[in-house]
């Protein structure tokens, strides 16, 4: 049997050649624009326009032009602050809700859950004006709260925690109760550690969404001095002039992309696991 498999092995690989070629082409198309971003960030605008795709020596110059034109440090720290607060708050609130909906479920809670799911159909552009008025009324414009409040509780995250907690061992909960553990104690001491991979996946999604958000911050964080602007707003400003310095622009895009890329590479596996709902 094993011999036969080995003999089959090479012919199988041969049959896969078109697959490999296709995948290589798709991979190249997927990666190239990002490679080009890195390369362009190190070239001056003339070389970028000329179509140079190798690395150049203008990285420092581009960085200097960028920091002279925009407050890069503030943009980065704003984005970090907003994204971190949003991620922590969303993870806590939504996991608590998912825990409550799944492990304490009854007819009424199931019905309420169905109602909450309707919020998935609510487009951001439809709530943007009333929410802007609300934030303006509460004097929260240009504060972290205006940024995070509408994004903390999402049906998507609640559903994710709810579905992934289907495999949570209920017998353990009973045992803990007999030992005198409170309900919130069960959440912190048992649910949290068991659901680690779901938390990781939820954190990746939420952090990326928060970091990449554009429409909502443009509405509520657009103080004229730019003191509350996020990275996507900052780089969008760079390309608004009549003459765009491509080297400078790509340096900005690079800074805007690095954090999410790091998150992506470090937590990619947990991300995939979290989506499948495989809790181990």
């Amino acid at each position: 049997m094993t011999k036969k498999n080995k003999a089959n092995g090479s012919s199988i690989q041969k049959r896969l050649i078109p697959t490999y070629i296709f995948l290589i082409i798709v991979s190249f198309i997927s990666v190239f624009p990002l490679y080009w971003m890195f390369a362009a960030a190190t070239n001056n605008t003339v070389d970028v326009a000329r179509g140079k795709i190798t690395f150049g020596t203008y990285a420092l110059q581009n960085f200097k032009t960028l920091t002279a034109a925009q407050d890069l440090g503030r943009g980065m720290s704003n984005s970090f602050l907003y994204a971190t607060v949003e991620t922590l708050a969303a993870l806590f609130i939504c996991s608590l809700a998912g825990f409550g909906f799944e492990l304490y479920h009854d007819k009424h809670k199931d019905r309420l859950f169905d109602v909450l799911l309707l919020a998935m159909m609510v487009p951001q552009v439809a709530t943007m004006i009333p929410l802007f008025k609300m934030m303006s009324h509460m004097k929260l414009l240009n504060t972290v709260w205006a940024f995070v409040l509408p994004a903390i509780s999402t049906p998507f995250l609640i559903m994710m925690f709810r579905q992934n907690s289907r495999s949570f061992p209920i017998d353990i909960m009973e045992a803990a109760r007999i030992d005198g553990c409170s309900e919130i104690g069960i959440f912190f001491k048992m649910f949290l550690p068991v659901m680690k991979s779901t938390y990781a996946a939820a954190a990746v999604i939420t952090f990326m969404n928060a970091w990449n958000a554009y429409l909502w911050p443009k509405v509520v964080m657009s103080d004229k001095t730019g003191k509350s602007q996020t990275m996507p707003m900052l780089i969008a400003n760079l390309s608004n002039g009549y003459k765009v310095d491509y080297g400078e622009l790509m340096m900005g895009v690079l800074f805007c992309s690095i954090p999410t890329m790091i998150v992506f590479f470090v937590l990619q596996k947990q991300f995939a696991e979290g989506i499948t709902g495989a809790v181990k």
Binding site: I12, Q13, T19, F22, L23, V26, S27, V31, P33, L34, W36, M37, A49, G51, I53, L96, A97, G100, F101, Y104, H105, K109, L116, A119, M120, V122, P123, Q124, V125, A126, T127, M128, I129, P130, L131, S153, P155, R166, E183, I184, F187, M208, N212, Y214, L215, M231, P232, M233, I235, S239, V244, C256, S257, T260, M261, F264, F265, Q268, A272, I275
Partner: protein, 298 residues
Amino acid sequence: MKAKKMNVTGKQQRAGWIFLTPATVLIAIMSFYPMIEAFFMSLKTGSSAHMKWQVPFWKNYYHMFRDKLFLRSLGNTYLYLLIEVPIMLVLAILLAQLLNNKDLKFKGFFRTCVFLPCATSLVSYSLIFKSLFATTGLVNSILVGMGIFKENFNFLGTPSTARAIIIIALIWRWTGYNMVFYLAGLQNIEYSVYEAAKIDGANGWKTFWKITVPLLRPTIIMTFIMSINGTLQLFDESVNLTAGGPANSTITMSHYIYNASFGQGVANFGYASAMSFLVFIMVAILAAINMKVGDKRD
């Protein structure tokens, strides 16, 4: 859905309610309430503090369907939707199917590459594509260099190519994202199911349609709804890749609504709300149709 047998006491029930209260309250205040308010605002006119009821109250809606620019933004959004979503989802399923092959080598590498565009923000990739397709950009210099074009072509300054580039950019950004959902779905299908199909003499094509697609159906429906939802709300690309131009020929609904409420010029919250309420109705209808279609094939 399996029913769990539990003897939950009243105290525990209360604890359950407490756990889901913060999330429920936030959704009510941050989604449902603004949605209702948006509807009432859509019957008014003016901006911020000075809003009056429209006479007649449906005037904003009446005006909407006579507003050429709005109709164009509607048409653009549907054009992007109808072309981009099918291509992207088919490509995503195909890639997932190819990457789910047990005998394939470098699977992790390919998967990471295809998924990588998701690591960029919508504004970032819009600006990257804007630069690539600029009149003095890489694509032009390659095409001119190879002699395909005689002189640099203004891709983003020509309505048809500008729209095509938005679609290409969208496919580039979102195919890997959807593929991950399918890959996760495929991994839940036992390999023995495929083995059995092979023994029964089913070929790849048949296996795909008879096993993969039916078993992936919930995932396909979910990605379909997500994509429709996302495309109907397209904003970042329209603003940053083409700025809605040339001459508003690529503008999307969300972009137009933003311009009407927070852009330059006189803000018209009532009219913007009316347009945004239409977006809501479309998202809801399409999602409902999708659910119905999904249920029927059971």
